[in-house]
């Protein structure tokens, strides 16, 4: 990355740089289960996330900026996911798409399912749902783009990430008696 990881960019340069980065996310879809179908649905003409600058044609992890883990991660698959993630060049982002990738989902008590992809790789945006609608993925992508706009590339390459975003955690719950999250909705 040359000097990017050495010096903090001046604010205007950083702004333009991040603006460019956030609208050219080459995306590698790690389609594992049901959610992968909704990912494909999000990439086709009805929902069309290419209009948001997400390009789902990365030929492999080495050409990708964004890894979308969509589906159930099993213990047998986990080493491969970790390896693919490590093949991606920095700066790299991960969207955990669907309940299984977030926390195990309906397979929370299974003997062979890894309870969340964040146990092996760091996640930037969690999209809940089983499976989430394509609109939810669009929402997650926009949240990620906001995050990219805010962050400093130097910090990112040094491994200091912003807090991950959980979609929908900011929304008021239907019942007011439920306890509020202490950090204002963002997951710790």
């Amino acid at each position: 990355m040359g000097v990017m990881d050495q010096v903090e960019l001046p604010k205007p340069v950083k702004y333009v740089f991040n603006w460019g980065r956030k609208y050219s996310l080459w995306c590698f879809n790690f389609g594992l289960a049901c959610c992968a179908i909704e990912f494909i649905a999000a990439s086709t003409s009805r929902h069309d996330f290419i209009r948001h600058g997400v390009i789902p044609f990365a030929h492999g992890p080495r050409q990708a900026d964004l890894l979308v883990v969509s589906g159930t991660l099993t213990d047998k698959m986990a080493p491969a996911v970790k390896r693919l993630y490590e093949e991606m060049p920095e700066p790299k982002y991960v969207i955990s798409f669907g309940s299984c990738a977030n926390c195990g989902g309906p397979y929370w008590d299974s003997y062979s399912v890894t309870k969340g992809v964040d146990q092996i790789i760091p996640v930037d945006v969690y999209v809940p749902g089983c499976p989430p609608r394509p609109e939810a993925l669009l929402d997650g992508i926009i949240a990620l783009q906001d995050m990219i706009q805010k962050e400093s590339l130097k910090e990112r390459i040094a491994g200091r990430r912003l807090d991950p975003i959980t979609l929908g955690a900011d929304e008021p719950l239907p019942s007011d008696s439920s306890p509020a999250l202490p950090s204002g909705g963002r997951a710790p």
């Binding site: 790690f30 389609g31 594992l32 289960a33 049901c34 992968a36 179908i37 909704e38 494909i40 649905a41 086709t44 003409s45 009805r46 159930t72 099993t74 047998k76 698959m77 080493p79 491969a80 970790k82 390896r83 693919l84 490590e86 309906p106 397979y107 008590d109 299974s110 003997y111 062979s112 399912v113 089983c130 499976p131 609608r133």
Partner: protein, 393 residues
């Protein structure tokens, strides 16, 4: 990377004792090496986390060994810890392209054991939605098989139709992929007002669009050049392996449990089972495409037959299947889905075995791949239609 062993560096998730070294054959100046090529578990050609190890002599595949289990989520164990309502939520997730048909089988098996009479209307609606689900599934494979052969456009067409059908099904069930609409003794709720009109319109619309797929994919010269005569499967081998669904129909065996063992009301209508002749990749795809038209015919018949009345029965407070065992199979989009339900009289099944079509169909891949060229291997692999979750459960 430091925590991965050398073997995993060579290939992630490879089993112990598997060596990827080159085996030298021949002697003197004519020494050559057979190569082992591992495709997957994350490879575009295997649509899903499916891995296959090819042994190759030059460009020719001399042996193939599928490695499965990357999507094994332990459904059968989890089902023993959930009651009959909760199983539905898991069961329609194993084959994520045919959620409705999956949950239908469980509901039918429990109803059979409890000797429950399901209202006529519920049975007809179940058939209607099962057929829509079949089209939904086949459209996905039409798109993905074309992508594997290098054509990206059919996917966009297929998803245009898929979105329309999903919209229709969502209006009744509330789900896009996992419907959870069946329940023991009937359905969750009756169809919404206007569903039949929309269903009729959509059926006509898709019927009008089906010729597009014939022109775009099946009639395409490149498609034919890559599939005709590639990977033929003899019927007796298919039966011995337990291959069912379009893959079996392509070999010329019209074995379809909607016809031979009618469940629901399939006995009262005409069910057309398209069959192929040679059992090659082209025939498999042809059967898949022709089944869409066949399902549309069934849907139109259901529209004419659908009676009025209730859609569910009064259930006991606790659904408990009596002690005993039953085997029930239904015609899932990809083949025959069988449930072995064994109960000890409790609230949860004692044993729920799912015989999935993909598991049996994928067993045919080593047979099919022997002797084909590498580019054909992809064409064969894609034409044995499978869903990885359906293999591994």
């Amino acid at each position: 990377m430091s925590d991965l062993s050398t073997r995993e560096r060579v290939h992630p998730g490879s089993a112990p004792g598997e060596d990827f070294h080159l085996e030298i054959v021949g002697d003197g100046d004519f020494q050559t090496a057979d190569m082992k090529l591992s495709i997957g578990p994350a490879h575009p050609a295997t649509h899903g986390v499916f891995r296959i190890v090819l042994e190759m002599d030059g460009e020719r595949v001399t042996g193939a060994r599928p490695v499965i289990g990357y999507m094994h989520r332990g459904f059968e164990k989890l089902a023993e810890h959930r009651d009959y309502r909760q199983i539905k939520a898991l069961v329609n997730r194993h084959d994520w392209l045919s959620g409705f048909s999956n949950e239908l089988g469980v509901a039918l098996a429990v109803e059979r054991m409890m000797e429950m009479e399901v209202p006529d209307r519920a049975q007809w609606i179940r058939m209607l939605l099962a057929e829509w689900n079949r089209i939904l599934n086949h459209l996905m494979f039409i798109g993905s098989y074309a992508i594997e052969l290098g054509a990206i456009t059919p996917m966009f067409y297929a998803f245009r139709e898929r979105e329309d059908i999903q919209h229709l099904l969502e209006s009744a069930t509330g789900g896009r992929l996992h419907f959870t609409y069946n329940q023991v003794g009937g359905l969750k709720i009756d169809l919404p007002k206007g569903f039949l009109r929309q269903s009729t319109e959509l059926s006509a619309l898709i019927r009008k669009r089906v010729p597009d797929y014939h022109d775009l994919v099946l009639g395409n010269d490149i498609f034919q050049a890559r599939t005709v005569g590639v990977g033929p499967l003899p019927p007796e081998v298919a039966l011995s392996l337990g291959v069912t669904g379009p893959t079996l129909h392509a070999t010329g065996v019209p074995e379809d449990s909607r016809v031979t063992e009618p469940y629901l009301k399939y006995g009262e209508i005409d069910v057309d089972v398209p069959v192929g002749e040679n059992g090659d990749s082209f025939d498999r795809f042809y059967c898949l495409l022709a089944r869409i038209s066949a399902s549309l015919d069934i849907i139109d018949q259901i529209h004419d037959h659908l009676p009025a009345g209730p859609v569910n029965t009064k259930l006991p407070k606790m659904v408990k299947a009596p002690e005993g065992a039953t085997y029930l199979r239904t015609e899932n989009p990809l083949g025959q889905l069988g449930y072995w339900l064994e109960s000890d009289g409790g609230r949860t099944p004692w044993r729920l075995k799912m015989r999935t079509p993909s598991f049996s169909n994928v067993q045919a891949i080593p047979y099919l791949l022997e002797g084909v060229l590498v580019p054909d291997a992809i064409a064969v692999l894609g034409s044995v239609f499978f869903v990885v979750g359906d293999i591994d459960r």
